[in-house]
Amino acid sequence: MQFSFTAEQEEFRSNLRRFFDDKSPVSTVRRLMATETGWDRTAWQDLNRQLGLTAIHIPEAYGGQGFGFVELGIVLEEMGRALLCAPYFASTVLAATAIVNAGTEAQKRDLLPSIAEGTCIATLAFAEPNGRWDTTGVETMATAEGGRFRLNGVKSFVLDGHSADLVVVLARGQAGLSFFTVPGNAPGLTRRALKVLDPTRKQALLTFQSVEADLLGDEGGADKPFARTMIQAAACLANEMVGGAERLRQSALDYANLRVQFGRSIASFQSMKHKQADMLIDVELAKSAAYAAASAAAEDDPDLPAIASLAKAAASEAYMQTAINTIQIHGGIGFTWDNDTHLWFKRAKSSEVFLGDPAWHREKMMQLWNV
C-alpha cells in the first residue's frame, strides 16, 4: 500500500486546488446550487476540457487517461474541498466505473470515450425508494423482448438523474440482476428532480414505464461488477469527504483566529485549542483511511472491500463531526444562511448516508473480516 503521494501527484493536487479556487469560488457554488440542474454544462465542459478530469481513471483504450484510483482520489478530495458543482461523481465515478466493470469490450469502446471526453454525462441508477444500498433493494424489473429489454420500476437517489444523457440502470430479470443503459430522454422514462438536503449535489427520482433498454454486460451477471463498483465508489466518496472535512476544519480555525471575545482572541482559549486539536485528529485519521482505500483500489488489494467500508465509515463520522464543530465554533453566525458552513454541513450529512451509513459499512467490514 502506498502511504505517500509522489511529487507529481502533489503537484497535480496543488494545480487542481488553484484551479478550483479560481473557477469554483463559493459564489459560483451558491449560484449553481440554486438552479434545478445544479451545474452548468458549458462551464463544466470548459473546465473539464482544460483538465481532462472525466477521463482520469478510464483506460486509455477507451479514450481515458489510464490513471488509477489514487489520482481519482486526489481529484475527488479537491472537488469535495471546493464543493464543486459538477456531475462528476455520477458520471465518472459511478457510471464510468460500472461500465468498465460490467461492459463488454464493444460496449466499453462505444460508451466510454464520450464519458471520458465529458460530452456525455452519465449516471448510475441503482438505489430505489426503499433506500437499501445492496442488491436486496432492487425491485425494478427487466423483461426480455426480442433481443432488447423493457424496464419497469422506480429508481431513487439518482445523482444528477434529471440532467444525465445516459442512465446505467440496475434491474432484475429472469436471469437475475443485470445492468442496462437507457438514454436520458428515453420514451416512458419520467425524471423528477428531488428536493434535496444538499443542494450542491442534485438527485432525481426516475420512473420507468416500459422503457426500452440495452443490456450492459452479461444478462444476469451484474452482481459482481455492481458490488465492485460500490466498493470502488465508497473508496472514492471517502476521499471526496475528507477534502470537505479538511476545508471545514481550516475555516473553523481561521474563524477562531479572527474572533475576539472577553478581550482576547477566542483561539487563545484552551477549550478552543483542544477542540481544534481534536478536529485535526479526526480529519487526519479519516484522511489516512481514505488514502489507504484509494491505494488499495489502485492496487486491487484483496482486502479492498473491507478497507473501502472502513474508510467510508471513518470519513462519514469525521466529516459530520467536523461540520458540527465548525458550526459550533462559528457560534450564531454559523447557523445563518449567509455563512458558508451549512453548504459543507449539508454535503457531510448527505454523504454520511449515501452508499451506506457508517454502521452499515462497519457491519460489512466485520463480515468481510469474518468476525
Binding site: I281, A289, L310, R362
Partner: protein, 417 residues
Amino acid sequence: MSEMTEASVRAAVRVWLEANWTVDSGLIEWRNKLIDSGWGVPAWPEAWYGKALPAGLTAVVDEEFQRVGAVGVAKAGIRRLAAATLLAHGTQAQKQQFLRRSLSGEDTWCQLFSEPGSGSDLAGATTKAERKGNRWVVNGQKVWTTSAHHADWGLLLARTDFDVPKHQGLSYFIINMHQSGVDVHPLRQMNGHASFNQVFLTEAEVLPEHLVLDVGRGWAVATTTLMHERREADGVRAWGTASNRPGRIYDEERAENATVMEPYKWYPQRAGRVDLVIERAKAAGVNADPVIRQEIAKLLVLAKSAEWTARRARAAQMQGRPQGPEGSIGKLASSHVARAAARVHTSIAGADVMLMGEDGPMNGLIAEILISVPAGSIAGGTDEIQRNIISERVLEMPKEPRSDNDRPFRDVPKNLV
C-alpha cells in the same frame, strides 16, 4: 562513503556483515566492533561512530541487519536518549567517556526530570544544584524514574538559579547513580507493578565536568532529550522482543533485554491490546451481538486509521520531507485507541470484568488492560499537553497566557508539596 545510494549502502552493509557477523561473539565484543564500523549508528557523524547517512537511508541498514538477524547497538531504555543528547550537546570529554559505553550497553541510564511538583510543567523543577568547592551538590526529589534502581548514570535536570525566570535557571547534569546521596525507592502503580522509582537526592555530588552545555542552559538540553523520547516513544515495544534464535550473542541479548525491558512488560496492555478483541469476542460467544459488533468495528476503524496515519508520517520522514500534521497526532491517537479498546474489552468480558489474576479472563490479562490503560494518556505528555502542542505548534494558535516566565522563579506560585 563517496556516493550514498540505496544500492551502494545496501551492498556495503551486506559485505561488512558477511565478513563480521557471527552468533558466537560476545554481545559487548560484537557491539564494540559494530561501533567501530559505523554501521551501529549510521546516521551519526563519522567522527562519532557513524557514517553521516541521510535519514532516508538508515532503514536500508536496519533491513540488512534484520535479514541476517544481526544484533544492533543497545537501543532499549534511556541510554539511547542519553547518547543522542550527549552527541548533540556533550563536551568532547563527555562524548569520549559516555557514547561508546552507552551504545555498547555497558552503561545504563535513567532520566531524572519529573518531580512530584512538576509533571506537565517540567521546567518548574525545584531540585537544587549548588556549586560548593570543586563539586555540584544536589538536593531534591525526582519521580517516575524508570530503571533508576539499576542505572549507572542519570540525566539530571536541576535548578542552579532561583532568581531568574524559570527556564533560564535550569542546568543539565550527568549524575553518578552509585553514591550514598542517591536513594532509590520503587513506586507502586495502580496496576500493581512497580516500573518506576522515586529518587531522593540528598547532598548528592556531581563532578564539574559532568555539567552538559552551560549553567542556565539546561532547558535547551532537556528539550533535545524529550524530542528524542517523543520520536522513539513508539519504538519501546518493538525493542522489547529479543530474537528467540539460538547462539551465544542471542543468549546475552535476551538476558540484557529481560532486565531492561522488565519495567515495560505491561506496556502492551497499556495500549489496549486491540489485537485480542476479535478472538476474545468469539471466545465469549458475543461476536454475533450487533451492539458489540458495532463497538468492535468502531475500535478497528480507529486503530487502523491510527496505524495508517503513523505509516504516512514514517513515509514522509523516509522521503526526507517535512512532516505534516500526521506526525504530531500519534500519541493522542494512541490514547484514543487504548481507551476505546478498554471499553470494548469491558463489553466483551461482562461480569468477569470484576475478576483478576487467575480468576479473571485470560488469566488476568484483561484486568491488566483495564487497570493499565489510564497511564497511556498521562505518561510522556498528557493528552492535554499533546493538544496544547498540536494547537500551538501545528495549528499555530496563540499560546496560553502565562504567569510564570516573566518573574524570578522564586516568586512563581508553586505546589505546596
